[in-house]
């Protein structure tokens, strides 16, 4: 058990190193000939107007919020699925009711027009 997470820890280091080290190395051997025109923001040859981090469509945010609700609740279903063999009828029903609540949530979002890309 401990050595499992030891592997994950070491693998994390290696996995950060594998893309990171070549990027650093390439930075050493590649040319450095920067000039103001080159490092301008790309916008089809025009100079960019105004700030990049502008207000954006709220729909993206709403989708992210809807996702968050689902994601957080779905994690709770995993223990239920693992222990499925030993569940009593009550356990099964509570799981099913939990999923139904999720379903109602989806329907509510749907009716509210959250899922519309209008």
């Amino acid at each position: 058990m401990q050595s499992d997470w030891l592997f994950i820890g070491l693998f994390l280091l290696i996995v950060a190193l594998f893309p990171g080290a070549p990027i650093l190395f390439a930075g050493l051997i590649s040319p450095h000939k920067s000039n103001p025109t080159k490092s301008e923001t790309y916008e089809c040859g025009l100079e960019t107007v105004g700030d990049t981090w502008v207000q954006f469509r709220v729909q993206y945010y709403i989708f992210a919020l809807t996702f968050l609700v689902f994601d957080v609740e779905l994690v709770f279903l995993f223990p239920w699925a693992v222990a499925f063999g030993q569940l009593t009828m009550f356990g099964l029903l509570s799981g099913v009711i939990f999923i139904l609540i999720l379903f109602v949530e989806l329907l509510a979002a749907w009716r509210k027009g959250v899922l519309e890309w209008a």
């Binding site: 950060a16 930075g27 923001t41 790309y42 899922l115």
Partner: protein, 413 residues
Amino acid sequence: MNFISDPITFIANWLTNLLLGWGLSPEVTTVLLTFIGAFLLGTFGFALVIFTIWLERKLYGRIQDRLGPNRVGPWGIFQTFPDMIKIFTKEYITPIGADKIVYNLAPILSVSAVLLTWAVIPFAPTIVGTELNVGVIYLMAVGSIGALGIILAGWSSNNKYSLIGGFRAVAQVVSYEVPMILALLIPVLLGQTMGVNSLVYAQNIWFIFLSPIAALIFFISCLAETGRAPFDLLEAESELVAGYQTEYSGLKFGMFYVGEFLHAFTISALMATLFLGGWRGPWAEQVPILGVFWFFIKAFIVYFFVVLIRISMPRLRIDQMLNFNWKFLTPLALVLLVVTAIVEKSFLLVTPGLNLTETALPWLRAGLHLSVNLIIILITIQILKTHRIKEVRVVATPRPVAVAPEPPASVIS
């Protein structure tokens, strides 16, 4: 366990004994061996990408009636190496006003998130990075880091195209995680374990036969996660230049490329592990090295389909894509989950009283699940037929056409 049937375990045991013989403490030996294992796994992942990039370009070329890479080495198999050397020597161009730390972190994150998945994928009964008892949750957790990489890249580049790409990543990659997790629940429920290797052990009958809908949902949502065609709205080159990677150059761009190709193979490997029986095949348990063979055959078959879909499908519109996710895949997955749970429970309750033989039980179970799945497919098709999206057909009113003035009679003749 001899060398030919299971070389990895053999070498690991030999190394352990060697290191212990040198007088190292067991803890140090474990750490060293784990490090070597992790290093080999990472190297293997990168080496595989070099191969899959070539394979995909070749397939891409062949399907478009071109030759594909064919100059460097036999069938152009070494084409990726010159490309690598070229991209190594390219200049990094960082746009003014980019958020430097986040900007440099994003390509690393997008590769490492995918590579992290490999830690729990079993290539053979004994050849597995680590057998976590929460493997499936680990897969979920690591999978969402990849989306984070894309979002960070889009946000930090200080470019409007990149920013739109990042927004689309929020809408698409993040949304498609919901049906993916729901589809992941089905193998967990059928195998009653979260360890990935134990899930492979549980697949006496492949889960794709028990639950084809879950396999399909998982496949589609994984495809959307990779952000490749037909789900390549993140980088839609005809709309957003290159989406989130517009401002990247040199090897930083190359890392996004590597991450994408590695992700494409990783979803094939996951699909093979979770639904196609992983390393299972004839004699795989006696001779673990055969398991590697079966695993890669399955993974490459799935990979072929991934490439085929990428090549042949046109890009979706964002509203179509989100509708497909939230109004079709997610409800279907929820219904499937409830139905599978009820069927499985009633199977567990009823069968002890039936006096069936040990061999007949799994087949009965598979048949039950498969037929229920088929019924769900039929009902879904019926619902889709009756509740077709009524597309607003704007019948164009005939515009006033500029009528050419009658030419004078003298010209006609």
